[in-house]
């Protein structure tokens, strides 16, 4: 809670607000000093400093503590309008005021430190958890195809006479599938590390969306998917300026996801339109959709649905989100009422007046 306040207000504003608050409260107290007596005012001022201490850093709190102490002394302790304090009682009161105000500031500082270390600890724990998930899913996702390749080649080399020609072909085909899967994972990891590095810059160029979508669909269809993909794009759609590689990857991952997690013979529909200077791409399937309570998490790194079948590292959709954000766009996911899910990508981009 406290941390949230301090994050939003910067240092300079903190000084200014503390200063103004002390002055304003002092001003009000000045007006009512005759009714209240200066000792009550001391408490009011202390309360002000404590309030400031709740949400601000140590230096502004120190400043308001010192300032308020002197204001109290100068304007309120008799004889007023001097720094002179006549009675011993008042001297003790003033010193106590000063000390309490400082303690306030010091406590604030301590709380901040504790907060900082606990936040660091939390971050570290999160990173460790992330690494754990990563290692777990990676070792699974990389070892499965590697195991397939090793086992299949062992089998082929074993000169076992029981292996029919058909068996051998099957083994070779498994090796091939496993290699493509490995390659896909390496691609994902490279993309995620590019995104993580934070250095990724979009390379924008004119892009024929029809051509791009058809080429991605062709690539997906080479994976021998069983679903039927339909493409819905105006053949005269104008060129848009965007990063082709990223857009391809976004669409590929969404289609790949749809093809991995919907039943055979499901329908996947991809549409692209542009309005004003926004490119909108939707990918809809007639599968089972996502569990509503998990929709908020699906774009998180390494997140996998609770009932997800084996395979997948939970990187695909986080790459989609990462690239979309690099392109200053956004991605959303909804379940459609007729069943299935619908991803919508919106990316702002310049549109060419030349028609493709």
């Amino acid at each position: 809670m406290i941390g949230i306040f301090t994050k939003r207000i910067n240092k300079r504003e903190q000084y200014l607000i503390s200063l103004l608050l002390v002055l304003a409260v002092s001003g009000i107290c000045y007006g009512i000093a005759t009714f209240l007596g200066y000792r009550v005012i001391a408490f009011i001022l202390l309360l002000t400093v404590s309030l400031i201490a709740i949400s601000f850093d140590i230096l502004p709190v120190l400043l308001s503590a010192i300032l308020s102490a002197f204001i109290w002394n100068f304007f309120f302790i008799p004889p007023r309008f001097t720094f002179h304090v006549s009675t011993t009682e008042d001297v003790i009161l003033f010193i106590m005021y000063f000390v309490i105000a400082l303690i306030n500031a010091a406590l604030t500082y301590k709380i901040r430190q504790v907060e900082k270390t606990s936040r660091k600890k939390e971050e570290k724990a999160n990173t460790l958890k992330l690494y754990d998930t990563l290692l777990h899913s990676l070792s699974h996702e990389l070892r499965t195809p590697i195991s397939t390749i090793i086992a299949a080649t062992d089998n082929l080399q074993s000169s076992n006479d029981n292996l029919t020609k058909e068996n051998k072909d099957q083994l070779v085909s498994e090796i091939s599938k496993a290699s493509f899967r490995l390659n896909q994972q390496v691609e994902n990891l490279l993309n995620i590390s590019r995104l993580e590095s934070g250095f990724i810059q979009p390379k924008k160029d004119w892009c024929d969306i029809n051509e791009l979508v058809y080429s991605v669909v062709k690539k997906i269809e080479q994976n021998k998917i069983t679903q039927k993909i339909t493409i819905n794009i105006n053949p005269d759609m104008p060129l848009v300026k965007t990063d082709k590689m990223m857009l391809e990857q976004i669409i590929y991952n969404l289609l790949n996801n749809a093809s991995l997690y919907t039943k055979d013979d499901s329908k996947i529909n991809i549409t692209a339109i542009n309005y004003a200077d926004v490119l909108q791409i939707t990918i809809e399937d007639d599968g089972e959709g996502f569990p509503e309570e998990e929709i908020g998490n699906v774009f998180d790194k390494f997140y996998r649905l609770k009932n997800a079948k084996a395979g997948g590292t939970g990187l695909g959709l986080s790459i989609v989100k990462g690239f979309t954000e690099v392109l200053k766009g956004n991605v959303s996911l909804k379940n459609v009422s007729t069943g299935g899910s619908k991803f919508t990508i919106e990316i702002p981009c310049e549109v060419s007046h030349l028609k493709a």
Partner: protein, 229 residues
């Protein structure tokens, strides 16, 4: 038929072995080198008909090797590299590589590229005619026929298509095409190129969205393939 001699320059023994088996099985003669230095010596002592060059060599940057080879070696060079960044591919093609394949590659694809590169280097004159199943391009009479019917092309469309036909099988980069057709001032106007490519596809492809002749090399350029493979 006397098959061509191919030099493989790659530091990974596994890759060399695999390529050697594949190429020998297709009746090519194969020599290989594991370093840039060794490769350049072999190439200069006995110039091969084609070089397959890896960019990640231990002793020298692959693009520098390519540049050095191109000082005197005129036969085709095909780059085979794990690098798949578009700007590196474009650089390699600009520095005189005939083609570029990234690892992992498909064997069929590699063999097709080798055939195509060797074909273009052995042709004395450019074949004046592209004669595929349903598409004929006659560079002498400047005519293009689709399913026997004359295709009407604008001057720019024809120049572009003719340039592709003359470089059949070869990737032509965006910049190369823009410079050749529109001039040096237009090398960044890729939108012209995309518009014209789309128009040509509408005229020569059976399904412009699934082109069979005028193929896109994503982020790099285009490649024209006659259907005979």
């Amino acid at each position: 038929m006397n098959k061509a001699e191919i030099l493989i320059i790659d530091d990974e023994e596994q890759i060399r072995k695999l390529l050697e088996i594949t190429l020998r099985a297709n009746n090519y003669t194969v020599t290989h080198a594991a370093t840039a230095k060794e490769g350049i010596i072999i190439a200069s002592n006995h110039p091969p008909d084609l070089i397959i060059l890896d960019l990640g060599l231990p002793d020298k940057d692959g693009l520098a090797v390519l540049h050095e080879l191109r000082q005197w070696h005129t036969n085709p060079i095909i780059i085979l590299s794990v690098q798949n960044a578009e700007e590196i591919i474009v650089k390699a093609l600009d520095k005189g590589a005939n083609d570029y394949l990234s690892k992992p590659w498909r064997t069929g694809e590699l063999l097709a590229r080798i055939r195509s590169a060797l074909r273009s280097s052995t042709q004395e004159d450019i074949e004046p005619i592209i004669n595929s199943e349903d598409l004929q391009i006659d560079l002498q009479s400047r005519t293009v026929r689709k399913n026997g019917d004359l295709v009407k092309l604008t001057t720019t469309e024809y120049s572009l298509l003719a340039l592709f036909a003359k470089n059949e099988g070869k990737v032509l980069t965006h910049q190369y095409l823009l410079r050749a057709i529109w001039g040096p001032g237009f090398i960044h106007q890729s939108q012209y190129l995309r518009v014209f490519i789309a128009q040509i596809r509408k005229k020569i492809e059976n399904d412009p969205n699934r082109p069979e002749y005028l193929l896109t090399e994503s982020g790099v350029g285009y490649r024209f393939v006659g259907k005979q493979g």
